[in-house]
Each structure stands twice: as structure tokens, then as C-alpha cells.
């Protein structure tokens, strides 16, 4: 019995050893591979339609790319300032690639600095699995140059010209006192009511620009609305509080409110401290504004401008304090919070429209009218484009293709 067991064990061990040997047949050492065939026809040219700092390198793939023992796994692109080198590796392109865009920065101290108007030379090396490389002929010289006109943006350029023509036309009409209709916006209709309420209650009004800077369109639109609100506030002799996040916006807001008080004939009622800077830290700013809302209990809060994560925090606190709230922003992600927590919300472009509606300035009215007509053109183009693509007329679709 023992001998049978030992024999069985020996047979099992032998079978297992044979099985392993079959699973892992002896592997011959990798044959000494020769370097792959180099890429050919390397051409380096200035990248078009850009401000320079870029050269596009093209080549034909190596004969060993995609086949054989010397299968090419990548291409390395080298750049030098003389045909004889030295060359520096600029980047890597995967196998089958035939183009590489070499880009850099304009800062001379940056390691990735890319000189404009300087002779440059390129070569491309094919790299195989074993890591062996074969370099192409040197291509060049080539110079990166900046272009004054981006051909890929010609459709945009035409659209800008058309829009500008519309704007100038409608500004001219507005100046001639033509009756330019703008549909009423509920949020703006409520402004006078909100100011009246603040006056009756003897409570101040709070005006918040959000975190926008002076260069944001939403902030610029908000300044126009502030001008109107401040004028009404001056007429009704209500108190206005404008805590600012950005010092430049604060300066603009001070000028706007001051001018509005002058226009209302009450320069003496203007208080320098009513428009003040808080801090440029988002949540510290929120803490300050929330504190103001809780202490001053403003009758009306305006949140008009550029808002981010603070939108709901401010609007919720305002709702807690029982204020009427009018909000507006072009930050799509924040509009839902204003919609749920405020009484009136100006959605996106309504904010711009509101500034024109309130200001009635010919320039603003003309701009708004031009936007409307531009939208009408966009609607027509979109409908025509959908129809064109149904019939396979790709040329129409290509008109709206912006390359970069």
C-alpha cells in the first residue's frame, strides 16, 4: 500500500513537472534586434494661425511601424538650433503618428521657452520595443512666426462684423429716440416695489456684486443696475449697503453711487462708507455679508453679478432674514440656487437685458437689440444647419467650424 502511494505521488509529481514544462516552454533569448528603419520625409513648418512659439513636424512612418520584430512603439522629436546639433528632445508621439506640434512659452527663463523668428532644426527618431532608435534626416531650418490673421476664425470675424453693424445701427436708432421695444422682466419690474418696501419699513437695502471683477460682463451689467437702484434710493432717502469683494469693483461702485446721488439732486445724502471693501477671500466675504444681513435685516437684497459657491449661502441667509431678494447671474451653475431662494431671478442674459431696460441708454439699448437680431440669425442658421445636415450638405456645417 505504501509503495503504491509513493508510486502514485511520484507519478503525480512527474505529471505536474511535465505540465509546467509544456506551459512554459524554454524561451529563446531575444534575438539581437537591429535598429528599426528611420522615419522618412521629415518636414518642419511654422504652425499656422497662431501667435508663434510653435512648429509642426510631419513625417512618414518607419517601415517597421506596425510590423515585424522591430515594431516601432513611439517616435521621439528632437529640436536644435543648428543642423549639426546639439538636439534636445521636445516630445514623444505614439506609433503610427505622423505629426507632432512642438509648442513652447514666450518666457525666456521658462525651460519650455520657444523662440520666435529663430532658425530651428528638427529630427525624428523611431524607437522599437528593445529601445533601439533610428534617427531621420535633419529637417530645417524653420522659424516659428506669429500671424496677424487667424484664417480659421474667418467665419467668426464675419459674424463680429455683422453684429457690430447691427449694434451701430440700433444705437443710431436709439439716439434718434426710436421706440425700441424690450419686453418687461419680472425681476426688474420688482425693483421699484422693493425700494418702496425698504422705505416703508425704514430698513436698508443690500447690493451684492458677488465675486466678479471689473472685467466681467455680469459685473459691468450690475453696475448699470446699481446706478438706477442708487438713484431711487437717493430719491426715497433709503439706506444702501454695498459690501465689495474686489477693490476695483468697489471703486467703480463708489463712483456709480456717488454719481447717482448727484443725479438725484441729493449729493449731501451720499455716505462714503455705504460702499466698502470686505476681503478677497470667498468664504470670509460670505461670513461678512451674512453677518451684515443678520444684523441690519435689510428689507431688500440684490445679488446681481458673478457668483460662485457663495450664492446659496447668501440667498438662504437673506431668506432667513425675511428680505425680498432679487438676483441675477450669468453663472449657469449658480442660477438654480437663486431660483429656489430668491423672489425674482434674472437668468443669464436677462441680467444684461435688465441693465439696458433700466438704463435706457442708447448704447445699451442698441447692443441689446443687436444681440436679439444676432440670436434670430443663430436660430435661422441652426434650423437651416439641421436641415442641411439631413440632406448631407456638409459645406454649410463647415461654415461654423472654428479651428482654434
Amino acid at each position: 500500500m505504501k509503495r503504491t502511494m509513493i508510486a502514485l505521488l511520484l507519478m503525480a509529481a512527474l505529471t505536474a513537472a511535465i505540465g509546467r514544462a509544456q506551459e512554459n516552454p524554454a524561451v529563446d533569448p531575444v534575438p539581437a534586434a537591429s535598429p528599426p528603419a528611420p522615419p522618412t520625409n521629415v518636414v518642419a513648418a511654422d504652425s499656422p494661425d497662431d501667435p508663434g512659439r510653435s512648429v509642426t513636424v510631419r513625417w512618414q512612418v518607419s517601415a517597421d511601424d506596425g510590423a515585424g520584430m522591430n515594431n516601432v512603439i513611439q517616435y521621439k522629436v528632437f529640436r536644435g538650433e543648428a543642423a549639426g546639433g546639439p538636439f534636445v528632445e521636445r516630445g514623444v508621439a505614439p506609433s503610427r503618428a505622423t505629426v507632432y506640434v512642438d509648442k513652447g512659452t514666450e518666457a525666456p527663463n521658462d525651460p519650455n521657452f520657444f523662440p520666435n523668428n529663430t532658425d530651428l532644426f528638427y529630427k525624428v527618431a523611431a524607437v522599437n520595443v528593445a529601445g533601439e532608435t533610428a534617427e531621420s534626416e535633419v529637417a530645417g531650418p524653420v522659424q516659428a512666426r506669429e500671424q496677424w490673421y487667424n484664417v480659421g476664425r474667418t467665419p467668426t470675424f464675419i459674424a463680429v462684423i455683422v453684429f457690430t453693424a447691427f449694434t451701430l445701427y440700433f444705437i443710431a436708432r436709439a439716439r434718434k429716440k426710436a421706440d425700441l421695444y424690450i419686453r418687461p422682466l419680472a425681476g426688474i419690474e420688482a425693483v421699484d416695489e422693493a425700494i418702496g418696501r425698504a422705505t416703508e419699513m425704514g430698513r436698508p437695502m443690500l447690493y451684492v456684486f458677488g465675486l466678479g471683477t471689473a472685467s466681467d460682463i455680469a459685473t459691468i451689467a450690475s453696475v448699470t443696475i446699481l446706478s438706477r437702484v442708487a438713484k431711487k434710493v437717493a430719491e426715497y432717502q433709503t439706506e444702501l449697503i454695498v459690501p465689495c469683494y474686489d477693490p476695483i469693483v468697489m471703486t467703480i461702485a463708489q463712483e456709480t453711487v456717488k454719481t447717482a446721488y448727484y443725479d438725484a439732486g441729493r449729493p449731501d445724502a451720499y455716505k462714503e462708507d455705504s460702499v466698502y471693501f470686505v476681503t478677497q477671500s470667498q468664504f470670509a466675504y460670505v461670513a461678512a455679508v451674512n453677518g451684515t444681513i443678520l444684523r441690519e435685516l435689510p428689507a431688500t437684497n440684490f445679488y446681481l453679478g458673478k457668483f460662485f459657491a457663495e450664492s446659496l449661502l447668501l440667498a438662504e441667509t437673506g431668506a432667513l432674514a425675511g428680505s425680498i431678494q432679487i438676483s441675477g447671474t450669468d453663472e449657469v451653475a449658480q442660477i438654480p440656487f437663486f431660483v429656489v431662494a430668491c423672489d425674482y431671478t434674472l437668468i443669464g442674459e436677462e441680467l444684461y437685458a435688465a441693465s439696458a431696460y433700466l438704463g435706457r441708454e442708447p448704447k445699451l439699448m442698441g447692443s441689446l437689440k443687436a444681440q436679439d437680431y444676432a440670436k434670430a440669425i443663430i436660430i435661422i442658421c441652426a434650423v437651416a444647419g439641421v436641415a442641411a445636415s439631413l440632406f448631407g450638405w456638409t459645406w454649410f456645417v463647415e461654415l461654423f467650424r472654428v479651428t482654434n
Binding site: P108, N109, R153, T156, A159, V160, F163, L180, Y181, I182, R183, S215, I217, I220, I248, T251, I252, E255, V278, T279, Q280, S281, F283, A284, Y285, A287, A288, N290, G291, L294, L312, T317, L320, V332, A333, I335, P336, F337, V339, I347, E349, E350, A353, L368, D372, Y373, K375, A376, I378, I379, A382, V383, G385, V386, A388, S389, L390, V397, F400, V402
Partner: protein
């Protein structure tokens, strides 16, 4: 030292949250500390980032042929400060005009490309392509863009057929906002849980 930091953070958290009850002394203290430290922090950051690194070091960088343009920014900055002196305060309007005007000009093409051309290009597609869900997607996209634009058309009263298209537009907008709201509320809940984890775990140590 770490314990002091944890206690300070915990008390500041409670202090800030306490405004949900009502305005109180603890909230005012936390608010003042928060504003004061942040204002100081940003002052120091701007000083070293702008005045020292960008201007002082930049002006000495002989390899940069454009370094003298940095003086332009300094002049604009100084003009901003003229607000402090009443008689020449009007000079402060020049840098403001420059900032607003230059930005408007620079953004014009960018906005046209991103907000108009690319949007139209993305909307133009053959609706009846692909399977049924794809056809529904394409239709909703095309109708949504059309009706959304109609809603934002301010030159015509929203009545009749135009008004109905506008109503569809606002419905589509509100559905989008609802989805966005739900998504963001979830991320806010995650932030709140993080604070609770800090209070009950790191501070009080009663979480496992």
C-alpha cells in the same frame, strides 16, 4: 500645538454655524477673525506675488526684452491710489477705463467663438441619425436650443406661438437647473459630512 489648532478650528466651525440660530457674539468674533486674517493674508500674497515677484524681480530680468512694460502696470496702480487725494482723484478713472475697455476688447472674439460659433456648430447635426435614444437626444437638443433662444429674445412680446416656444424654453431651462441643483446639493452634503467628521471624529473622538 496640534491640539490648539484642532480646538481653534472646532470652535471656529461652531461659531460660524451658530448664525443659523441667530446673530451672536461667537459668530461675530469668528467673522471678524476670518475677515481680518483673510484680508491680511491676501495683502501679503499680493505684495509678494505682484509687487515683488512679478514687478521687482521682473524688471531686473535682463533676458526679457518686454520687462519695461511692467512700469505701465505700476503707473496704472499708482493712478488708482490718487482716489485718496480729492483734487486729483479723477485720475483713478483712467486705470478703471483701461481695465474695462481692454478686457471687453480681448473677450469679444473669445466670447463669439465659445458662446456663438461653437454652440451653433454643436447644434447642427442630422437629427435622424443612430438608434431611437440618439434620435430623441438630438431632437431634445435641437428643440431645446431653439426654444431657449426664443425665451431670451427680448424684442418681442412672448405671446401666441412665440410665447409657447418661449414657455418650452423656460421649462427646459428649469429641468436643467433642477438637475444641476440636485448634483450640487449632494456635493454640499459631502462638505457638511466632512465638517461633522472633523467635529465628532478629530475633535471629540467619538467616531470609530
Amino acid at each position: 500645538m496640534e491640539a490648539i489648532g484642532v480646538w481653534t478650528a472646532a470652535l471656529a466651525t461652531i461659531g460660524i454655524v451658530s448664525f443659523l440660530y441667530k446673530d451672536n457674539v461667537l459668530y461675530r468674533i469668528c467673522e471678524s477673525v476670518f475677515i481680518g486674517t483673510s484680508a491680511g493674508y491676501w495683502f501679503v500674497t499680493y505684495f509678494w506675488d505682484n509687487l515683488y515677484r512679478k514687478f521687482y524681480l521682473g524688471i531686473q530680468d535682463a533676458t526679457d526684452p518686454n520687462r519695461f512694460f511692467l512700469w505701465f502696470g505700476v503707473v496704472l496702480g499708482v493712478l488708482m491710489l490718487t482716489r485718496l487725494w480729492g483734487k486729483i482723484g479723477w485720475l483713478s478713472r483712467w486705470p478703471l477705463a483701461f481695465v474695462v475697455g481692454a478686457t471687453a476688447g480681448l473677450y469679444m472674439m473669445t466670447f463669439f467663438v465659445s458662446n456663438a460659433m461653437r454652440q451653433v456648430g454643436a447644434t447642427i447635426m442630422p437629427i435622424f441619425r443612430g438608434n431611437l435614444p440618439a434620435i430623441i437626444d438630438n431632437t431634445v437638443l435641437a428643440v431645446g436650443v431653439f426654444c431657449g433662444l426664443v425665451y431670451f429674445f427680448f424684442s418681442k412680446e412672448h405671446r401666441g406661438l412665440f410665447g409657447r416656444a418661449s414657455r418650452v424654453g423656460i421649462w427646459i431651462l428649469m429641468i436643467t437647473f433642477g438637475a444641476s441643483f440636485g448634483y450640487t446639493v449632494m456635493s454640499r452634503m459631502s462638505l457638511m459630512l466632512g465638517r461633522f467628521d472633523f467635529l465628532f471624529g478629530t475633535w471629540l473622538g467619538i467616531l470609530p
